[in-house]
Amino acid sequence: MIYARPGRTKILVPSNEIVEVASFIRDTLGFDHAESVSGTDYPKDNQIEVIYHLSSYSDDKLSSQVMALSTRVNRDDARLPTLINIFKSAEYHERETFEMLGVYFDGHPRNERFLLPEDWADIPPLRKEFRIKGR
């Protein structure tokens, strides 16, 4: 548990437990879809944080809540199990995270280019060592 504010809760789990925790969040707590999946690069810790913002449509009491499920992976070998079997709505978000931060999602059917140009040959652009030209 990182914080619990009104409407917002964030938990940090080890990457090997994320599938079980996500199943628990869906089946027991009632959060049924992912609003966003984002990654944040922390070169100082040599880690990337991947965070799922989960919310609920089917339970009225939870509709004002957003649960942030996060995990951290090593930057050099960024691999995570995919959550699309639990939250189907995360499919395109995970694919975007793969191309923007280079986090490989094991079990995701398409870890491939999505928004970037077809001939993109640089490092994933949302990693901190990627600099915009002239800045």
Binding site: G7, R8, K10, D32, H33, A34, E35, S36, S38, T40, D41, I51, H53, Y57, S58, S63, S64, V66, A68, F87, K88, S89, A90, E91, Y92, H93, E96, M100, R113, F114, L115, L116, P117, P125, L126, F130, I132, R135
Partner: protein, 386 residues
């Protein structure tokens, strides 16, 4: 002549052989876009078996601008003008949740009148967006009056927003701490007059577009997205509400002064393209009376924005805020490391979330239904790409 007949026979033979060769050869691959399948650069590849679509693969990214990366190089205030570029027709809403998130990070209190004007601008801008969307839907269905009318009436609200903010389309009006300026003199009366006129027009819209048998034929029963699937796919906005889920961020998690406004969440149970085109119309009607309430309940005078430091910043932390935009929930996830520039900004936009429903709905439907399904998803390609 003999030669020609021979060639003709050969072609027929070749054709038959190709069809016989494998099952896959029966299919034809079509590339829809990227040059404006309707509006905005977006491409999807479909495979058709006769009339029916059997495969669909969206390929966004033609208008990807790297908004999230750009945010990391500018301070919290400098980010506003470029953040509204993804959806210029709804620019007040896309900066709304950004302002809310920055306010939480830097602990800024917005004056009450500022909150009301902000909500008012957001409602007016939602009308502008929805009318534009409706006009494009008319183009998709080949109904040119349906393009002309909404795009013409959109000027009503553009004029109001121009008087309020000074710009027609990209306003940069919402800033952390409130709004840029107060309402001009006489704005209230003008707004009430235009909204009253627009409500009459909405009744005409219903008659001429929504009760049009051709429009109904092309949308009713087309592209059914059941409630369970809508929840599973995590779609949002009018697409979700058309599938029978009464979810609206303004109601579910009221921001600013929305808990003092009395309104109903508009939703339908029929789950088809018609419901997805009807819900925005119901939203526009509801929005008209929200605008009236906002004008009535607004404090008559007072500050409209909080005084900020030159380079506002807060302690290290993070914030996730969402508002209801024209395309559904629009969330910002901002991580701050304590400097005036954000460390990471993530936009979770409705268009990107609704895109997942596109292959789901297109597969199994007829090619002729493709336009009415695609645009009913309230998908704005530029916003999805960011």
């Amino acid at each position: 002549m003999e030669n020609l007949d021979q060639k003709f026979d050969e072609t027929i033979k070749m054709g038959l052989e190709i069809v016989k060769e494998t099952e896959e050869d029966r299919l034809m691959t079509l590339s829809v876009g990227p040059q404006h399948p309707g509006s905005g650069h977006f491409r999807f590849t479909i495979k058709v078996d006769g009339d029916y679509i059997v495969y669909c693969d969206p390929d966004p990214g033609y208008v990807h601008r790297g908004e999230e990366k750009m945010c990391e190089y500018r301070n919290f205030i400098q980010n506003i003008p470029h953040l509204e570029r993804p959806v210029i027709h709804d620019s007040t809403n896309i900066t709304y949740s950004y302002s809310l998130a920055v306010e939480e990070l830097a602990n800024i209190q917005v004056p009450l009148r500022g909150q009301y004007i902000r909500a008012l601008a957001s409602e007016l801008n939602r009308q502008v967006y929805t009318l534009y969307w409706l006009g494009i839907y008319g183009i998709f269905l080949g109904h040119s009056t349906m393009f002309m009318w909404p795009v013409g009436d959109r000027e009503l609200f553009i004029d109001l927003l121009e008087a309020l903010t000074g710009a027609r389309v990209t306003h940069a009006f919402n800033i952390p701490g409130g709004v840029r300026n107060d309402m001009p003199e006489g704005f209230r009366d003008r707004c009430l007059r235009q909204v009253a006129y627009f409500e009459k027009r909405l009744a005409e819209y219903e008659d001429i577009f929504y009760n049009n048998p051709l429009f109904r034929q092309r949308t009713e029963g087309v592209g059914i997205l059941s409630k369970e699937d809508a929840i599973k796919l995590g779609v949002t906005g009018s697409v979700l509400r058309a599938s029978g889920v009464p979810f609206d961020v303004r109601k579910a998690e009221p921001y600013d002064i929305y808990n003092e406004i009395d309104f109903k969440v508009q939703y339908m149970q029929t789950c088809d393209s018609f419901a997805r085109s009807m819900v925005p119309l119901l939203d526009m009607k509801e929005s008209c009376q929200i605008i009236r309430q906002l004008l009535d309940k607004m404090p008559k005078s007072g500050e409209v924005r909080a005084k900020l430091q030159p380079n506002p910043k807060g302690p290290a932390g993070e914030s996730y805020k969402r508002v209801e935009s024209g395309r559904g929930a629009l969330g910002y996830y901002i991580v701050s490391d304590g400097t005036p520039k954000p460390y990471r900004v993530k936009l979770s936009v409705g268009s990107f979330r609704n895109m997942l429903a596109l292959p789901f709905l297109l597969v199994g439907s007829k090619l002729a239904d493709m336009p009415s399904i695609y645009w009913s998803l309230n998908y704005w390609p530029v916003e999805a790409d960011r």
